[in-house]
Symmetry: C2
Amino acid sequence: MNFSTSEENYIKAIFHLQQEEDTATTNGLAAVLKARPASITDMLKKLKSKKLVHYQPYRGFRLTSEGKKVALSIIRRHRLWEYFLSEKLKFAWDEVHDVAEDLEHVSSKKLIDKLDEFLGYPRFDPHGDPIPDSQGRIEKHQQVSLSEIPLNKTAIVCHVGDQTSALLELMKHKNIGIGTKLEVKKRFAFDQSIEVKIRQQIPFNISELLAKKIFVKYGV
Amino acid sequence: MNFSTSEENYIKAIFHLQQEEDTATTNGLAAVLKARPASITDMLKKLKSKKLVHYQPYRGFRLTSEGKKVALSIIRRHRLWEYFLSEKLKFAWDEVHDVAEDLEHVSSKKLIDKLDEFLGYPRFDPHGDPIPDSQGRIEKHQQVSLSEIPLNKTAIVCHVGDQTSALLELMKHKNIGIGTKLEVKKRFAFDQSIEVKIRQQIPFNISELLAKKIFVKYGV
DNA sequence: TTATTAATTTAGGTTTGTCTAAATATATTT
DNA sequence: AAATATATTTAGACAAACCTAAATTAATAA
Ligand SMILES: [Mn+2]
Ligand SMILES: [Mn+2]
Ligand SMILES: [Mn+2]
Ligand SMILES: [Mn+2]
């Protein structure tokens, strides 16, 4: 099956909404797609007729298992292109998303599988999100935000909670990126800010807001 | 300015038609785009209102200089992607065109300029067609078909006249590709077939039809 | 449990890009 | 110079993907 750019954007957005809440709503989807609720209803009727969503009027909707498969293949394309842009074309971290948003709709399976091979089968995109394999299998790494890990345990940054350039700027300034090894030395009750140390460097302070956007894995 | 996929396909097709005949016709464009003449007329009105073509009803049309600039930037994207697919992803020669046909419509200037840099500023695509630079400058190499060059002069294959897999298959079998050095040893009047030698190998025969599709440069 | 509010759907348009069939303009023959 | 043939345009429709404004349904508060 082949889907229009618009259908693909809907399917992908529903998938992401379902990660939060099991069933997605018309207004919720309208908000993320920046479209009016009436347009969402129109498209949902179409997706339902194509058996990509379960949908009862007024009752919200969920992707069918077929719909999920399609969503994962779009996400695979998106994240592989993001990796390509960042790794090969040296795009900055906050520049990859918009371009990948277009590239993801070029749907040649051969293109994507060869791209994957060319890139060396990367497992995570530049934001630390896992890249589904060609069967649509996705690795869900149990990641914890910096604000939750125990003190004095070495942790590796593996994911960032959003992709704005504001966040990128701050992380660049503090020298933190995907893969950075660090440990939390102290937590201040007053403002929930934390003291972080990278290797032998002098520890520095991170706000609660930032700590919540930086996800790590640690321990065995 | 940004153009729709459809507008871009029209502009590019008009550009190619104009390489043959200075002014393009409704039916001619309908044939290459596989659309009905009425659709062509509709789109030409729009392109005219955007000042991309000179167009007088019933009199044919030509790209304006602005239209040519746009066409060249689409062709640049197309050929850079073809080069990428062939060189980096190891696509065969006759597989690159269709995928590039989609990729060419992703119009981020930064993407294309970085891709160009990543590829090392290639000057020709896998079919030997020149790639316009970021200013839209294109190199027109005066190429001659194998059926026209003088005997016993070393020539280098630089271009193929079409991109079908039938042609690719035959050229692969004869071990001829872009860059191959060869010379024509003899021409047979009976069927216009020619005897070709590649380096120290045993000369072999090539039909008139094939000779006309293989373009070379030679001499100083 | 009714009344009010919020969420969602329906009805009816619009734009883009396509099409068929009919009309018209240009080119080619006699 | 007509008559005929061919190329092109116009008229009118249609599907996709949007929209606004008006119902309608469901949720919540009185
Ligand atoms: Mn992204
Ligand atoms: Mn990402
Ligand atoms: Mn091509
Ligand atoms: Mn080419």
